[in-house]
């Protein structure tokens, strides 16, 4: 049940209460939902709103979490709106990511389920430009928007207990990267040479929701060379 709506960054948003100090915003548009989520998240972040602790951009929503000292005040919504009047468009970063598709571990299942050969799947997967939709599920797990539906594959019947860091997977009509080793049920079709995520650094990754990502296929030899060089 929506609390109401507000005008923010050029469009109208439904506002839901998620907790004592957390709100959920959903764009009331039918197109370019992700773009609105990303540009508005950036805008909110740059507005440096008092007490705003976390902003979680997701596919069709932005979650705002304030610190616990914050007292509920309905005016907060209009405050957000008035503090962020101008539309902001960010220069999107484009990252080219090396993937060794030879290191995929679910090729048999992927070939059977798509009816395509491994080479065809690789060519379809690596020709696309993807948008980093959001990170979540696990730290640094990267959800990418833009998978060609010809290579959509249902998740594994039984999730793996450990998926190696840097694994590139397909889960349903989504593709993504497991930055850290974690449990997971996606079909693994390759591995990247980097993990993109280091908890010893702040922020832990250069990547950000809204960034563009392209995959560049590399051979086993090139993979070994880069990994050895990175130590």
């Amino acid at each position: 049940m929506a609390l109401g709506s507000l005008h923010l960054n050029g469009i109208s948003w439904s506002v839901f209460r998620l907790g004592e100090t957390a709100w959920l915003l959903q764009p009331k548009v039918s197109e370019k939902i992700l773009e609105h989520v990303h540009s508005t998240s950036d805008l909110l972040e740059q507005s440096k709103i008092d007490g705003l602790q976390d902003i979680i951009p997701a596919y069709d929503s932005i979650t705002l979490i304030y610190d616990s000292q914050f007292k509920y005040d309905p005016d907060i919504l209009s405050d957000i709106s008035s503090s962020t009047e101008q539309h902001l468009s960010r220069e999107k970063n484009i990252f080219e990511i090396n993937v060794c598709y030879e290191l995929g571990i679910d090729w048999n299942e992927v070939e059977v389920k798509t009816g395509l050969s491994k080479e065809e799947v690789i060519s379809i997967h690596s020709i696309q430009n993807y948008t980093l939709a959001m990170m979540g599920f696990m730290p640094g797990f990267i959800f990418l928007d833009g998978l060609d539906q010809r290579i959509a594959v249902s998740r594994k019947e039984k999730p793996r207990i450990k998926v190696p860091s840097g694994s590139v997977g397909i889960g349903g009509n989504q593709t993504g990267i497991y930055s850290l080793e974690s449990p997971g049920g996606w079909q693994i079709i390759g591995r990247t040479t980097e993990s993109f995520f280091d908890v010893k650094k702040t922020p832990p990754t250069e990547l950000k929701a809204g960034d563009k990502i392209r995959f560049k296929p590399i051979s086993n030899e090139e993979f070994d060379k880069v990994v050895a060089k990175n130590g």
């Binding site: 049940m1 839901f16 209460r17 998620l18 907790g19 004592e20 957390a22 959920l24 998240s41 602790q53 976390d54 902003i55 979680i56 951009p57 997701a58 596919y59 069709d60 929503s61 932005i62 979650t63 979490i65 610190d67 616990s68 959001m134 990170m135 979540g136 599920f137 696990m138 730290p139 640094g140 797990f141 959800f143 850290l180 080793e181 974690s182 995520f197 908890v199 010893k200 702040t202 922020p203 832990p204 990754t205 929701a209």
Partner: protein
């Protein structure tokens, strides 16, 4: 320099503090203590800064040898604490000598006991927090629960401070049959009136598969939401998720940052402290907050 050696880590003991904030957009959960009120109490009893970490012991505490004279306190679940096999009080500032052995047993009441030690703990902060996040293998001691052979070190604080003991009437009573209040969540109306009433009248049993990520709730009835398409969206500790199997999950401190199940409600933060003290097989009822 203060020092403690772990002889036995107990069932599941981790270093925790207030939590890790500002990194949820990268998928990093907040983590931090499950029972915030017991955490605040132990740091106050030993005169520590409120952001000092503590040990959070779950169901069965461990066995520790102090290698230095120390000031300690514990609060939360009663795990029959003993020093050199003599019973000692919870909720009280305690002085302990080098060589003393501190031991905890199974929780008699409550689920989590917090051990505070006076001093500035020497643990590396990860993304602004000392908290252990086991699933991510980071924070605390090597991102895991305490094991035999681990050591904790801290800088001693020389300033004077006032020892005290909590009065009997201030000590919380941990019921294993709890009623908690919740705010209806964004998808509360995905439940029909009949399903909402069922949710409000059911006494849910806490499954033994519960952990710091979430409390899994079972009952004889399944709660059914309208089957609508839902994409992953933000969640926070205290959110009650309803997966298709009809058994709700109450997300806790290590819970993920986004989820794809209907969010039927959010348990009030002040009640989450009590939830953290209900052991497996305890029960929870939900009441809509005004």
């Amino acid at each position: 320099m203060g020092k403690l050696a772990v002889i036995d880590g107990g069932l599941f003991t981790t270093v925790q503090d207030e939590g890790r904030f500002g990194f949820r957009k990268y998928g990093v959960p907040v983590s931090g203590v499950m029972d915030n009120s017991a955490f605040e109490l132990v740091n106050s009893l030993v005169g520590n800064a409120p952001d000092t970490p503590v040990l959070e012991m779950t169901l069965k505490g461990g066995r520790y040898r102090f290698e230095s004279d120390s000031v300690i306190a514990f609060a939360g679940a009663n795990m029959n604490p003993t020093v050199n096999e003599k019973s000692v009080e919870l909720n009280s500032t305690l002085k302990i000598s080098a060589g003393d052995i501190l031991e905890f047993e199974y929780a008699r009441r409550g689920c989590r006991c917090y051990l505070g030690i006076r001093g500035v703990w020497e643990i590396e902060k990860i993304l602004g927090s000392y908290s252990t996040y086991n699933e991510g293998n980071f924070g605390g001691i090597e991102g895991r629960n305490l094991q035999k052979g681990d050591q904790l070190h801290w800088k001693e604080i020389q300033a004077d401070f006032q020892s005290y003991t909590l009065s009997q009437k201030e000590i919380p009573y941990y019921s294993s049959k709890l009623t908690v209040e919740f705010i209806p969540g964004p998808e509360w109306n995905w439940l029909s009136k009949k399903e909402q009433d069922k949710f409000l009248s059911t006494e849910f049993k806490i499954s033994s598969e519960s952990n710091r990520m979430g409390i899994r709730l079972n009952s004889d009835f399944q709660i059914e939401a309208k089957s609508k398409e839902m994409v992953s969206s933000g969640v926070i500790p205290g959110i009650i998720q309803l997966p298709p199997n009809g058994s709700p999950i109450l997300l806790m401190k290590d819970g993920q940052t986004v989820g794809g199940y209907p969010r039927i409600g959010k348990v009030l933060d002040i009640h989450l402290n009590r939830v953290a003290q209900v052991p497996p097989n305890g029960t929870i009822r939900f009441k809509k907050s005004d």
